[in-house]
Symmetry: C2
């Protein structure tokens, strides 16, 4: 029996093919630098022994790991999962694999994960949003690890970004809502602490109201976790208050779904008694009844472009441009004119 202990090494292949390890290495990494005859012999040995290179050794010698890291808040949110899948597909094509960490929206955990990824020698890192300690960016720069921030966009961020303007997107949606005639607005936002995307969306709403001359205290603002029940709870509180809003904007589609469910539990009709809007346009938005007016975000494209932006940096490009993705409002049944109010 052959020993089934350890995988064959470069040296085993070299011996089998009657060449040096250097030649084998070249065959694998830069085939044209070796003459056809020997190359064939080497290749034969390679797949006869079932040789596969040891990545750790390769990483150490070549100082590249063919691995990309990503730190996202959570994969439980379909939008992160979806973009991450697109990101990963694109990387796989280029021979990279994805090392994932999740922060659970905790800045400290994120920082840890980033250091861990760097220690593991990843060739690049995908982050969500810009907001984090400057030290982290220093750290990344010092270690020469290419980085890209997604779900956000700025031409002059600390690292290139691939995303959209959260402020503008939400401002547009709010303007549209106002044009329907709504005056009392509720907004169940995502938690804004350490979350520039959520912050941008809140600012967008406020800006739209200001532009329309609606007093700031007409806005009922709450921050919620990104889940169904949080949406439901805040919806109930808002609607139970003395002067309930005629429309409730939500920080994302999941919160909106929670609001919608609560509405039906309270016997409120949407959009008859109250309009509801979301953000992201996940599949969910089309499935619930009534269908959700929301902001479409090209998640797949974001993942793909983020991957390409990162690969460009890895390949040595100097000034990689940030990518600004367009969002658009998708009007569906959940938004309508407010009914006359007392």
């Amino acid at each position: 029996m052959a020993k089934s202990q350890s995988a064959p090494t470069l040296e085993d292949v070299a011996k089998a093919a009657g060449v040096s390890t250097a030649t084998v290495s070249r065959c694998l990494n830069d085939p044209n630098r070796v003459i056809e005859a020997t190359r064939k012999r080497v290749m034969a040995a390679v797949d006869q022994l079932g040789y596969t290179p040891n990545f750790a050794a390769r990483a150490m010698a070549a100082k590249r790991s063919l691995t990309i890291g990503a730190v996202i808040p959570t994969m439980n949110n379909a939008i992160f999962a979806r973009a991450l899948q697109a990101f990963q597909d694109q990387l796989a094509q280029a021979g990279y694999m994805l090392l994932v960490g999740s922060s659970a929206y905790d800045p400290v955990a994120e920082r840890e994960q980033i250091r861990n990824l760097v220690a593991r020698g990843v060739d690049g890192i995908l982050l969500v949003g810009f907001e984090r300690e400057p030290e982290t960016y220093d750290y990344l720069k010092r270690h020469g690890v290419p980085t890209v921030a997604a779900w956000t966009y700025s031409e002059d961020g600390p690292v290139p970004s691939v995303g959209f303007d959260n402020h503008l997107a939400m401002q547009s949606l709010t303007e549209a809502v106002l044009s329907y005639g709504h005056q009392r607005i509720g907004f169940i936002a995502g938690k804004t602490e350490g979350n520039d995307r959520a912050k941008g969306r809140v600012d967008g709403v406020i800006a739209a109201l200001a532009a329309a001359g609606i007093p700031r205290d007409q806005l009922i603002l709450r921050e919620a976790d990104y889940d169904i029940s949080a949406g439901a709870i805040h919806f109930r509180e808002m609607m139970d208050a003395p002067h309930p809003p005629t429309v409730i904007l939500c920080g994302n589609d999941v919160i909106a779904a929670g609001a919608m469910r609560q509405a039906s539990r309270m016997g409120l009709s949407v959009p008859g008694d109250v309009s509801i809007t979301g953000f992201d346009d996940m599949e969910l938005a089309q499935i619930i009844t009534p269908a959700l007016t929301t902001v479409y975000v090209p998640h797949d494209e974001m993942g793909q472009r983020a991957a390409r932006t990162l690969l460009q940096q890895i390949e040595g490009a100097e000034d990689v441009a940030s990518v600004k993705l367009a969002t658009k409002i998708v009007f569906r049944a959940s938004l309508a004119k407010p009914t006359s109010v007392p």
Copy 2:
């Protein structure tokens, strides 16, 4: 300026602390084997230099990478994403990171990913389902890589499993459906090729029908991709046929959501004109209208248990037991008695 070229190494720390690299290494990996005084000195040097170990080097020397690989069909499906998140959380606690690959339901791609993971020296691998070439299992065994299969369960599979009995779960649901009085059954299953979970579910339905003495040709069976539109299309075809079923079972909740949407587009009431059931009990199931009768699967627990099962193997446990998770039927409004038929 300090040189910002490369990260500090063990040797730098050793020099700074006035000890040998061996001592530094011990301080980090097995602190009690070094006296307090020196340990303090070393630790001070460590975080003064901002030292973080190089994983590639560590992997090579220690023959463990503190990395776990996973190959799943796709993260776009919330159920995989969800369990993967739980899996990852559990691993992170033990100091491991997750290297993910996705197969897009393609056996060849999966095989590639597995080899890639092994070449990268992962300490363990998570796979979905049992069905794949025996060679793959040989390969994994030969390389001594602990493996666990999830979303499926068997006491004597090629590797330990953490999951549930797909056959039994679907059989139970079908029995429940039959007990409502349904006779003409439609089943929009997932693609069964290379997918033992989908196959198990189909067999479960067939077994239940057989046990109830319902002729096999009363079952209208279709295979669909796991997405909304596929569910919609097959639903329409089934309902447009001469003798439409009174209930349509679906291979998962997403397909069911598609069916439901199509029903409303066709002006069919659920469950008035036709009942619909799903599988997985994702959040979706409670949000759509009517709420979906489905099979609850403990995805989070599955991810967690899979992680622990894998870690046990890595820690050298000999006969790690497979974990059988319980599913249960969740009755909601989408299932009711069939209305009298002509």
